[in-house]
């Protein structure tokens, strides 16, 4: 394992030290070493937005703390939900008295810890409501949507929810907009190589050279199909088909598109794939209003790519267009 590490069991804490020092203009530590918050949080008169999740997905999750982005983030071990206490402390850091929207991904650990944290927060008089991202179309059949994983679509959910909070909207309004964002969003991933948890030291699953895993999860959870490695254009077609047919996105829709690398895939390859995604959507007369290409939600050193598409309406367009300033997402 050719990695930059000291004690692999301590990597999350060490990473947080570096992150906090490098981005002191945006994030600030809290009393809980596993919770970071926006320098401006809690934002007076605004609903707070909190999230959290396991580590190893940089820039997610702490990279989405910022201006008009998340107020506080609970940080877990690699690929492991943060503790209930960490979520609670994130709620505390985010709350200005107007309540907290906890926008997180659908994983059983996160569900349990968030549930416990909310119970404690409620006792303290902090109102918390949740939106649970479940955009990964490959992670369960459509009639079991509630089982689906949250993946890169969480970024759209955060962007929309946080922008809504920035408008001064109420907690219910923020929840409604963030829920609409994720309901309008579908993702799918293709894995080309496995990832290695630093403390394990070797990949815990294999993707044979010359094959690819369609529908892989952000933690290396197996996908729906292992098939021979395809060309970029074929991958794009496969991903567009899964995502477009699942929602479904139809002629005339306006959409936001996010192509994210899983970590170790050279960025230039994401653009090669995006070129074909764009052509395919154009052919289906689906209009791309906004595009993001880059490493937005990764899985340690995994090679591969995810495609995320969100259908926009006037409200979502306005919220997606709002200025934002975080490590992972900056827009004027």
């Amino acid at each position: 394992m050719q990695r930059i590490l000291n004690d692999p069991d301590n990597i999350v804490d060490e990473m947080l030290v570096g992150f906090t020092k490098a981005h002191a203009d945006i994030v600030t530590p809290t009393n809980n070493s596993r919770v970071l918050k926006y320098v401006g949080a809690p934002c007076k008169g605004r609903v707070g937005v909190a999230t959290g999740g396991g580590s190893g997905h940089k820039p997610a999750f702490v990279g989405y703390i910022g201006k008009n982005m998340c107020d506080a983030v609970a940080v877990g071990e690699i690929c492991t939900s943060p503790t209930a206490i960490a979520f609670l402390d994130a709620f505390r850091a985010a709350d200005s008295g107007k309540g907290v929207a906890c926008l997180y991904g659908n994983y059983s650990g996160d569900n349990m810890n968030v549930k416990m944290a909310i119970r404690m927060a409620t006792k303290e008089g902090i109102e918390v409501k949740t939106v649970v991202a479940n955009d990964d179309a490959a992670s369960a059949p459509k009639d079991q949507c509630e089982k689906r994983r949250g993946v890169a679509g969480e970024i759209f959910m955060w962007k929309v929810g946080c922008a809504k909070a920035a408008t001064g909207a109420s907690l219910d309004e923020v929840i409604t907009s963030a829920q609409k964002a994720i309901d309008n969003t579908r993702s799918v991933g293709i894995g080309l190589t496995p990832c290695t948890l630093p403390a394990v030291g070797h990949p815990n699953f294999t993707i044979e050279e010359g094959t690819m895993e369609v529908g892989i999860g952000h933690h290396g959870e197996p996908g729906i199909e292992v098939c021979p490695l395809e060309s970029a254009d074929q991958m794009a077609r496969r991903m567009v088909d899964i995502v477009v047919n699942d929602y479904p996105f139809v002629e005339g829709n306006e959409v936001a598109v996010l192509v994210s690398g899983l970590g170790a895939t050279p960025i230039m390859e994401l653009y090669v794939l995006y070129a074909e995604v764009e052509r395919l959507l154009h052919k289906k007369k689906i209009k791309i209003y906004k595009t993001y290409v880059g490493n937005y939600f990764t899985s340690l050193d995994m090679m591969g790519v995810t495609l995320t598409i969100m259908k926009l309406d006037d409200e979502l367009k306005e919220l997606m267009d709002m200025e934002a300033y975080s490590v992972g997402l900056k827009q004027a």
């Binding site: 690929c79 650990g109 394990v200 933690h219 290396g220």
Partner: protein, 217 residues
């Protein structure tokens, strides 16, 4: 029957068993999960061992502290699941000077009931529950049949192993692997395995303690 005050070694024995099986648990979780089960479990249990190796605490206090470490410092699925189980067990034992089969059975029941308040998984869903539930059942049977604590513990180990092995042919209904549907069949559930390791280590720890406190069981 064993003295609660002398039961710290039981909890340390559980921690050692998890430590020894860290890589194995990671491998199993890697097959249909994300591979971190051994790592996280070990982190929590080791943390407990280090912190309390030279402190005097009872069995029930040990379970309480272990539960707190898991819940408040480890997170993941295991924090809430084992955290709840151990803390409920501790609550049930609290105040007791001695722990006999009846109380031990009640403790495990309380652990499972606590778990059922936070997860919807039941027997057959390919989770920890498939190990824990038959273990509870067999203790009831042993109590009814007036078996010795020692024999009951042997029965519990056997039931936990059978329960753990039953997960192999099941399809996961909860947790990370549940999205795989049919593809989750054919391999063990990581949580069911760790639960089996814990229950066996707990039983062995009690037996060892009892044989040290000759004749107390």
């Amino acid at each position: 029957m064993f003295k609660n005050a002398e039961g710290k070694s039981i909890v340390l024995n559980m921690a050692k068993a998890i430590h020894d099986n860290k890589a194995y648990l990671g491998e199993i979780d890697g097959l249909i999960g994300d591979g971190d089960h051994g790592m996280n479990m070990n982190k929590g249990f080791s943390c407990f061992s280090e912190r309390f190796s030279d402190k005097k605490i009872t069995f029930s206090e040990g379970l309480e502290e272990l539960g707190m470490v898991l819940l408040n410092e480890i997170g993941g699925s295991m924090g809430p699941i084992y955290g709840t189980i151990f803390m409920e067990m501790a609550d049930t034992a609290n105040g007791a000077d001695e722990i006999d089969l009846a109380l031990f059975s009640k403790m495990l029941d309380a652990g499972m009931e606590g778990l059922f308040r936070i997860v919807d998984a039941r027997v057959g869903d390919k989770t920890v529950v498939d190990t824990l539930s038959p273990a509870c059942d067999v203790l009831h049977e042993a109590l009814a049949a007036k078996k010795s604590f020692l024999e009951a513990l042997e029965n519990m180990k056997a039931a936990a192993i059978v329960g753990m092995e039953s997960t192999k042919s099941l399809v996961a209904k909860f947790g990370r692997s549940s999205r795989l549907g049919e593809r989750s069949r054919g391999v063990l559930d990581a949580g069911a395995v760790s639960c089996c390791i814990i229950l066996c280590a707990m039983a062995d720890g009690i037996k060892k303690l009892s044989s040290d406190q000759i004749g107390t069981i």
